[in-house]
Symmetry: C2
Subunit: 391 residues, 2 copies
């Protein structure tokens, strides 16, 4: 197996409803990634695109083929991946394997989504289909409900009152917005306070509006290359040194592990083992904070904090830049935004730039090793990646 | 890169509307494939599923994760691929790469669809989204219209009257039904005549109902393994020796090559080159006869007949078992049926059994080399595979 590097990354501004098509959003991010990588479109050998619902939202089922044509990647193999919120991480992992296999040298991969444009009603109805259709959905269980139940389980299991946990969760959002303000491409660039979270409308007890990430439009893309190809392009390649993916079934089948998610535990373990590192070696990470409680369980499952202590660590500032581990310096899904198909690629965009020291005010000084964490469905699909400086 | 073998294959009966869920259809095919391969579910390392529209049809977006759980493949990486009508061929090609890379030894891969269950109205509306959403679809161009235009172009370019071409096309359907009757898993098991085709309702001049494949329900699955792993399981492995995939944009961008499809020309060339064979070496093939004219252009692009002579060759019986090249001895999409996400895997199921001499009355005697041809959209996604006996 060959080594695989990220040699370029691009991202559109994440936003509310906007007029660009899915093809245009992806292309904008791709052009930035190609420019950073100094790769011409004619040299790209394959196009892998993550997207969840361009069919329902835009009435277009094969955006990827048209993207290939419009970007000038004529007739390359083009795939589309629906891995729920992990769609573009699934696509990036596949591109990794294609290059590792020796079949491909350089691939454009990313994702896009127009969740804001599709409107709250359609988004709520269609994203609910990433729950179990036969048992969970008919019971009225959708994602805010699932993560609200996870929050209650967490408080109960680790001996917090719900008010104590609510404050810890609110501090996750406060941190996210603090960094979102610094990110020129973030969707929500305004300050947040614990009081604001508590005053926001209740979504599903104990989760309030500001415990939840927004629905966003946006695109993100990266260029992956073999080690040999990467060395011709740049003296600052970022290698994907570890990668893991796992699946899980309905929530009922996951009971033994809740409030933590079994697929993350497995995928993270795979990624660490492949990279030959431990959580202590990670300087910066982008985790899947679709809800504030989701960040708390993520940073515990990833091995940064003991189970039951992630919220406390957040309250102590240990997840800030300069703390024990910098978590979501991009603003995360909560403040940067969550254009579903673009989210995983946007995590890699942030880590790529962090490791290259290009993040300005939200730079994690001297970061050498980063991690991405993308969760689809209620842990039904999980991808983790370890990225390391190649110089 | 390691060699990759098919070691087992399974298929449900293809049919009209039926009560099994997508999960159940896939699982039925998978169990047959696993039994043929003598592989236990606990040994399967990944699950790749092709499916186009379980979201619209069943309200389930991540059937693949639930399939993994229900089949007892706990927590393996599970992906879903929407490559339009080529969905499961895209999935199989990906499984091929995963194994070739050295990362995986044995993978369950296939697809399923309930196109009949979804009903003609929803199927017509949703499958139209595999055309270009911004230019083709608003012009009223859907697949019967596209292939009707291709038929007119074909007749015009190669100097046939439309009545001459209609007779050639009808004979494609007659052949398909002749073999469909022999296939116990075919959707349409009744005889067809040229007269019946001509008496059937007009869909889009010159295509009549019996020029078109049915909407079907069904599932198909195969087990792929590395050469080393395959040798432990069977003394009759079928190797995938060549594989190609290409994409194309809207029809307007393909004008120069029409009535043939550029993505097929490229993908077939890749597959032949990888296998190191020529069209003359192929004994049996399963091609994408979604419309009768589609088979004619396919067998020309695949190099079995000169351009403009595929229909004439069909009329002379050269595509029958015992002719120059056996085309669609399973009955093809036309008679076996077309459960979109299952179609590519069902082609591999047929070729696998042909090469192992298990096809009874429709056996191509002594077949050593087979080819599959799966087209998604109007040539927007194309996958070709060469399979050869490993003994």
């Amino acid at each position: 197996m060959r080594k695989v590097a990220v040699v370029g990354a691009g991202q559109t501004e994440f936003s509310g409803p906007q007029p660009r098509t899915n093809l245009e959003l992806f292309s904008e991010a791709a052009k930035e990634a190609l420019a950073v990588a100094s790769v011409n479109t004619r040299d790209i050998q394959a196009l892998l695109v993550g997207n969840a619902l361009s069919d329902f939202e835009e009435g277009q089922q094969i955006a990827h083929s048209y993207i290939a044509e419009n970007l000038g990647l004529p007739h390359v193999p083009a795939n589309i991946y629906d891995g729920a919120c992990a769609a573009s991480s699934v696509a990036i992992r596949d591109a990794f394997i294609w290059i590792a296999s020796g079949l491909y040298d350089v691939i454009l991969v990313g994702g896009m989504e127009r969740v804001a444009t599709m409107g709250t009603k359609m988004a709520t109805e269609t994203y609910a289909m990433y729950c179990d259709r036969y048992y969970e959905y008919p019971s009225g269980i959708t994602f805010p409900g699932i993560f609200a139940m996870i929050a209650h389980l967490y408080a109960n299991k680790y001996g917090y009152t719900i008010d104590e946990l609510k404050e810890q969760m609110a501090l996750v959002s406060v941190k996210a917005h603090r960094y979102g303000i610094l990110n020129p491409k973030a969707h929500l660039r305004r300050p947040m306070t614990v009081e604001k979270v508590f005053r926001s409308p209740m979504v599903c007890e104990p989760l309030q509006v500001y415990d939840c990430c927004p629905f966003s439009d946006g695109g993100a893309a990266v260029v992956l290359a073999s080690e040999e190809y990467a060395k011709k392009l740049t003296d600052k390649p970022v290698f994907i040194t570890g990668i893991g993916q796992a699946s899980a079934g309905s929530l009922a089948s996951q009971q033994e592990n809740l409030p933590h998610l079994i697929a993350r535990q497995i995928a993270a373990k795979q990624a660490y083992a492949m990279a030959g590192i431990t959580p202590r070696d990670v300087d910066v990470c982008e985790v899947h904070d679709s809800f504030s409680i989701a960040e708390i369980i993520a940073i515990e499952s990833l091995g940064f904090f003991d189970y039951g202590t992630g919220g406390k660590a957040t309250a102590k500032g240990e997840t800030m830049i300069g703390g024990k581990i910098a978590v979501n310096p991009s603003g995360g899904l909560k403040a940067k935004g969550h254009p579903v198909g673009a989210t995983g690629a946007a995590q890699v965009y942030e880590i790529f730039r962090q490791l290259r020291g290009e993040c300005g005010e939200s730079q994690v000084e001297g970061a050498r090793t980063g991690l991405t964490d993308t969760m689809g469905s209620s842990g039904g699909i999980q991808v983790n990646m370890i990225l390391e400086r190649g110089w």
